[in-house]
């Protein structure tokens, strides 16, 4: 089922990739180039993750929050302040981050596991 969530487009552009939640320090290690970072909130301390991400989406924060600041600095599309509904997007879901309009959507593309196999 396709999902469309609204937040604030905090860094312009459109990014696409597989969703990758970061909920703990261990998740940072496993983040791959081209994935879309999903998190409750982020920090400037996650510079390495931001340099790999195709897009950033957070539950909390607005245009002045850290996720927005680093995403703009790195030139990565970002939508922030989506709220708890973001939890409905699972790891591996194909996500489109529209940083111009503040919309995050999932597509009909099949969910993929981390090793690239269709599920």
């Amino acid at each position: 089922m396709n999902t469309e969530l609204s937040g604030i487009g905090a860094s312009p552009g459109i990014g696409k990739g597989l969703a990758h939640w970061i909920r703990s320090a261990e998740d940072v290690e496993a983040f791959s180039v081209g994935e879309v970072l999903l998190a409750a909130m982020t920090s400037p301390d996650w510079g390495e993750v931001f340099q790999k991400a195709a897009g950033v989406v957070t539950e909390q924060g607005g245009m002045l929050c850290h996720a927005a600041i680093v995403a703009r600095e790195e030139g990565i599309p970002a939508v922030v302040g989506v709220g708890e509904d973001l939890q409905n997007i699972a790891d591996g879901t194909f996500v489109i981050v529209n940083g111009d309009d503040g919309v995050v959507s999932t597509s009909n593309q099949p969910k993929e596991s981390r090793n690239g196999k269709k599920e």
């Binding site: 604030i8 320090a25 607005g62 002045l64 600095e73 709220g83 503040g102």
Partner: protein, 364 residues
Amino acid sequence: MIALTPPSLANIKITLADIPHTALPWIAEKHVQYLDDRIHKIGPLTEYLKSCNEVEKERNEFVEFVDQHARREDLVLGDYLAEYTTKFAGVRTEVDRQCDAILQADIGSTRDSRLTFWEAFAYINEVDSLHGMFLTSGRWYVNVMLPVIKELVYCTLPKSVGTSERSAIAYDISRHVVTPQFAKPTSNYDIALERRFVGLLIPILTYYDRKLLFLFEALANTPEEAGKSLDEFVRLVNDQPNSFDSLFDMGIYPPFAWHELHSSRRPRRASVSYDSAVAPLLESVTSGFEERLDSALKFLSVFKDYELNYNNYNYKGRFGLISKYFYRQTSDRLSSPNREAFLDAILGDRFFEALEVLRAAPEL
């Protein structure tokens, strides 16, 4: 016009002179762990700050202070900043006073005196945490810059928006932009106006982003060996302090910028000039509001200075050093499992939880 700037930060060498160098690897490790956990556990921390009974009064007062100013049709940013400065300086002065007491071992030598100090320490730092949340994020209901952003919206709304509705519309848009989770949707909310404003705001925010993230650039030429391990970075800063003079001058202890060091190796894109960053706002100002817009931009600059000051003092400098030194001293007095429970709470910025552990620890 504006002299209400944040307190200046002293060279961090002054603080380092009072901390045994043998403690620095532990302090650096725990502080970086604290910075990581703060983010990974941001949900529980936000919930904790939103419901911490001991600072409920301060939390409610702060939210009301920001929100009431933002809602005013006759908003005067100078008055708002003056009131904010008093609040900020009051907390900082007390935090700094406690830091001095810790470094001078001036907190008494009995369990009762230590507990009394910890009670005051927990309270003021919980309030300081609230200030940080309201200054640097949009995680809970208001952000300090909400009135400034509202003023920027107010001055740049299309001329077709009438005077009578301009303030209310500007407030709604600023809430959506700064704290979207807490902006209540109204049936006549104009998303097109919001997107128009976001487009005007992004360039000036991008200009300040670079200033806030200055460490990426400042650490770019740090010797490769510093990146091998945090211990190695601490050793390098001890052995070659002159290489880090510019950061020391800014009140920063370089090993606390461990993550920034690793991110600094990539070339940065060219920075934008202030003039080009403000151009979209200036070109969109409604006739008659030019001076108000110019004034609001100056206030934005001051509040961004507060944000940078808070980050440098609390996360990268003096408070980070002294607080972790104090936690080490305190945890050394505790037996397991009190030590583990104390460190878990205090490194998560849950000051009153940590205080409860200490109250129940006869060995303190």
